[in-house]
């Protein structure tokens, strides 16, 4: 039988998203290490060598650079499928690129798993081979508003919101979800600022945020704009009452390296929490493995990339085949308990559109140089500090 299973990973490895792509490589390598070698974790496939279902076959990963361009993502996916003969594809950071990759995968009947794409539209296109284990923006946003509701109940000042989001798919989707939830749950949006991604300056935008002076600032920005936003806020003397961020840049180490001192008490939603290590020691150990490779802690993106690989490998193992259709069926039948992951999720189980609806987001607060889980209560290890600092 086959001695190796090839999985493709399509990421931006050059251009403005390169940093995420490069980090993703480390996350996948960590997962493959665990799968291919005998490790003592409560993760599927950790124990023993390789995939037992395929006679101990090992996983090999092939990377392709999308440069963040849908057309290139498409071409690379096709190349991975036809030339590298991959059995499945993981990807792809930018949701726009996921659109074309998932189309190609559909045509070739190869499963595609969004590790870190968060656009809700992705799983609503009636694709059979599309899967996403992690939450999408609506779920994330719902988590954020659940938290705000809880805070309000406690009497915190969280009535008015300022949305600050970039003009890409990610920013637009996030803002749409947040707007919808805000109206449903009776919040007032006092500023809804859509800005151009990678702008050279955000002064005008920050002036408007400052003028609106909302109770909660809700940014949806990548690292670059996140850094600029925080620096500009400091320079213009704007200190919001609270920040509740839609992850992305606000879960990147680089951002806190740059402007962490100005973010004491900032809150971001996330799908990963290192605090879980207290309850589930393997989380800490896996984090150490990852850190040894990358010099960084696992974060929102890398944890999901890691899990995507584990879940995919698990399905292939159960499918006992490298055939796309069989893997798809196995994926569709996935039933993984939360304990078997490194995430604070209830479980992994895909609905008919390929979305896992049981992946609960968490909210993390940046306190004293690290993240502390503050919501939901079953995962929380500390009380939120509100307002920030």
């Amino acid at each position: 039988q086959t001695s190796e299973v090839v999985i493709g990973a399509t990421y931006p490895l050059s251009g403005s998203g390169a940093q995420v792509g490069v980090d993703a490589q480390r996350a996948f390598e960590t997962a493959i290490d665990i799968i291919n070698n005998d490790q003592d974790f409560e993760l599927p496939l950790a124990k023993g060598v390789g995939l037992p279902g395929l006679g101990g076959a090992k996983i090999r990963i092939v990377y392709a650079d999308t440069q963040g361009d849908p057309q290139k993502g498409r071409a690379e996916a096709e190349r991975l499928i036809t030339q590298e003969k991959v059995s499945a594809i993981l990807g792809s950071y930018q949701s726009a690129v996921a659109v074309t990759i998932s189309q190609i995968c559909e045509r070739y009947q190869i499963p595609f798993m969004s590790a870190d794409n968060s656009s809700p539209s992705l799983h609503r296109r009636g694709l059979k081979y599309y899967f996403r284990a992690s939450p999408h923006d609506e779920m994330f946003s719902a988590g954020m508003f659940d938290f705000l509701d809880a805070m309000k109940k406690k009497g915190a000042k969280a009535q008015t919101l300022a949305l600050f989001h970039e003009d890409t798919i990610f920013g637009t989707d996030s803002a749409n979800a947040q707007t919808k939830l805000a109206t449903e749950r009776g919040y007032k949006i006092v500023a809804d600022i859509k800005y151009r991604a990678n702008s050279p300056s955000l002064s005008a935008e920050v002036q408007q945020l400052k003028a609106a002076n909302a109770d909660v600032l809700m940014p949806s920005s990548y690292t670059t704009d996140g850094i600029l936003l925080v620096k500009t806020m400091a320079e213009l003397g704007y200190k919001p009452n609270a920040i509740v961020a839609q992850a992305a840049g606000f879960s990147e180490k680089a951002l806190y390296d740059a402007v962490g001192d100005k973010l004491e008490g900032a809150i971001t939603r996330g799908s990963f929490s290192l605090d879980l290590a207290a309850k589930r020691p393997m989380v800490g150990k896996i984090n150490d493995l990852f850190k040894a490779k990358s010099g960084k802690d696992l974060n929102d993106n890398t944890s999901r990339q890691f899990m995507a690989m584990i879940i995919m490998a698990d399905a292939i193992n159960r499918a006992k085949s490298t055939d796309g259709e069989k893997i798809r069926d196995a994926l569709a039948a996935t039933e993984m308990s939360g304990e078997q992951t490194i995430m604070p999720w209830k479980r992994v189980k895909f609905d008919e559109s390929g979305q896992n609806n049981d992946a609960d987001p968490v909210l993390l607060q940046y306190v004293g140089g690290k993240f502390v889980t503050i919501f939901p209560s079953q995962a929380a290890v500390a009380e939120p500090i509100w307002p920030m600092k």
């Binding site: 151009r196 300056s201 320079e235």
Partner: protein, 277 residues
């Protein structure tokens, strides 16, 4: 902010305007200057303000080298010299980004806290961030210096003459390669200065140049090629327009304001505000 665009633009103005050469790697020059500043800070704890001259010197060498090694040969083209230069420097930009990623990794960096970083002065209720303020001062000084240099010295005149007809300056004993190499070096040095100041309030990564390149070109063109003062004025106009359009249009469209102003200006004055060519 406008003045900073101006400062970035002025390096361009020098290379692009005064020499009639397009440098598509301008943003990458800026990127490199920011990295130089960053590394000087992290490894030698040299404050960006002090390392600015070092960054300028490094970029001077780079600018001159780029001219001598690449642009000089691109200029040999008989027809469409402009396009050949555009693409030679475009290729160079890609190489520089690749090299930056290879050596500096794709990580986002930033100079955490310089002496000025994050401090603000409040003048009559308007907050002025110190780094920008300082940048503005440096920009004004650089503009002034360059303006005098170009308009009052023989080098400035030689540069203009070389742009007009590189083949003819030898008739009066000018070495065109020397003049151009110096011009590129100076352009680079100005970008070096700009980069050092930028580094105090901007993030740094291999593709950072892309954020600035277009706006810098528009700034130069708005002011008018061949005019140092134009680049200065262009920078101020762009800064003002940026700040004001954000009040009328959604911020994601704020650059539309700048672009529209550019179009408006050149439709009325086809050589920009102060252009001579």
């Amino acid at each position: 902010m406008g003045l900073l665009y101006g400062l970035i633009a002025v390096g361009l103005a020098l290379i692009f305007g005064l020499m009639d050469v397009v440098n598509f790697a301008h943003g990458e020059f800026l990127m490199l200057a920011m990295y130089v500043t960053f590394f000087l800070f992290t490894f030698f704890a040299i404050d960006p303000l002090l390392s600015a001259p070092l960054a300028a010197a490094a970029l001077f060498v780079l600018g001159a080298a780029v001219y001598l090694v690449i642009v000089r040969f691109a200029m040999r083209a008989k027809a469409n010299v402009g396009m050949v230069q555009i693409f030679a420097t475009f290729g160079l930009a890609i190489v520089m980004r690749g090299l930056a990623q290879l050596f500096f990794t794709a990580d986002y960096r930033s100079v955490p806290n310089s002496w000025l970083g994050g401090k603000t002065v409040s003048v009559a209720g308007i907050f002025l961030p110190q780094p920008q303020l300082f940048g503005a001062l440096v920009a004004i000084a650089a503009f002034g210096g360059l303006y005098l240099f170009i308009n009052r010295t023989d080098f400035g005149r030689a540069l203009e003459a070389t742009r007009e007809d590189p083949g003819a300056v030898a008739l009066v004993g000018i070495d065109k390669n020397r003049v151009f190499a110096l011009g590129w070096g100076l352009g680079g040095a100005l970008v070096g200065l700009a980069g050092a100041i930028m580094a105090t309030f901007f993030y740094i990564y291999p593709d950072v140049g892309a954020s600035f390149a277009l706006i810098a070109y528009v700034t130069v063109a708005l002011g008018g090629f061949g005019s140092v003062f134009g680049a200065f004025a262009g920078g101020i106009v762009v800064g003002l327009v940026e700040a004001t359009t954000a009040l009328i249009l959604p911020p994601s469209l704020k650059s539309v304001g700048i672009y529209a102003v550019y179009l408006l200006v050149v439709f009325i004055r086809p050589r920009g505000l102060f252009g001579s060519m």
